[in-house]
Symmetry: C2
Subunit: 176 residues, 2 copies
DNA sequence: AGTATCATGTAAGACGTTACATGATTAC
DNA sequence: GTAATCATGTAACGTCTTACATGATACT
């Protein structure tokens, strides 16, 4: 459905999709090229997308078919989203009591920096959106969700760094 | 590492871990029981956790070993977290231009409600934390991240509902 | 001429889900 | 006594990653 969503927006090749997965969609959906290419062939075989001839360097862009569009609409209107998530940054924070406060601080600082950089990139992408067409307006929804989640992670990391600063060291712990 | 993190906090059985995955950790890490049980056996075979005898109803709690703790510390201090995420709610928002604004609104409203309920649950869990021990203090970091991300999703959904209300209908679109 | 980037793939193995199966204890 | 919940598992199948492989075009 992620591939179908991207291709519905505008025709894309497997390579294009890989770029999106490394860029905008890194916080939304991600797959590696080795999964994308066979999956595109499968979607084409099912008639949900169709090859648009061949571009330079063996490039193979796909466009969505009518069947593909109605499949997407069905997915959106008749099925419920899966809300289970995985976030390794937060998972690790549950285990931070096992390391020295200084190591915990180092981890949180590097996460803070990473998310700040990502937020800047996300804002740039938001600027580049064409809000004149429906696809661009929907993409704005997605990017805005990304921005807000990144802001949440940044303020969390800042708060967490302050909080960890008040933790006793392992030594103080055991001696207490 | 998720299993190890949970067991490091306090001894747990596969069933306990399943409860956590359905509760607190739903927004952090998730696995199904059929993956958890064999994985626990594997971790025990590797000496990272150890069985604590058998409880009522065939219950098998595991506790972490010294090796398990140092494995966790290694993971935290020597490896970088994977930042790629998957969020089906946001993915779907990228495709919302394909359905009628009313259907988009319905989707966003139901997401809003879902996240509001989750936030309430998360706040209750935060109250129940024992901040007297290091494990509880680290769990507070994780839960606070959950709270902030849920708040971000809620404010996003509210904003998105207003935004979608300004979208032209498919009909207005095609006639324009 | 050489390096970087564009571009697509296959095969093996690891990870994760679905369907199925079983039994103990508790609450009504 | 019957339903709900607690509790653990196996087997088959589907999804995803890692390692490997190839070639075209653009830039310097």
């Amino acid at each position: 459905m992620a591939l179908l969503t991207l291709i519905a927006g505008e025709p894309r090749s497997g390579y294009d999709i890989g770029q999106e997965f490394d860029g905008v969609l890194k916080f939304v959906w991600h797959s590696k090229p080795t999964q994308v290419y066979p999956e595109l062939k499968r979607l084409a075989a099912e008639g949900l997308i169709r090859e648009q001839g061949e571009g330079p360097r063996g490039r193979r862009p796909y466009e969505i078919t009518e069947d593909g569009q109605s499949e997407l609409r069905q997915w959106l209107t008749t099925t419920a989203p899966d809300h289970s998530l995985r976030n390794e940054t937060v998972l690790r924070s549950f285990a931070l009591w096992l390391v020295e406060p200084e190591e915990a601080r180092a981890f949180l600082s590097s996460e803070l920096e990473y998310h700040r950089i990502r937020l800047r990139g996300m804002r740039v992408l938001t600027q580049g959106l064409d809000l004149g067409n429906p696809n661009g307006r929907a993409a704005l929804l997605g990017l805005e969700a990304g921005v807000r989640r990144l802001e949440a992670m940044i303020s969390w990391a800042e708060w967490a760094i302050e909080t960890v600063a008040t933790w006793p060291t392992q030594e103080e712990q055991t001696s207490a």
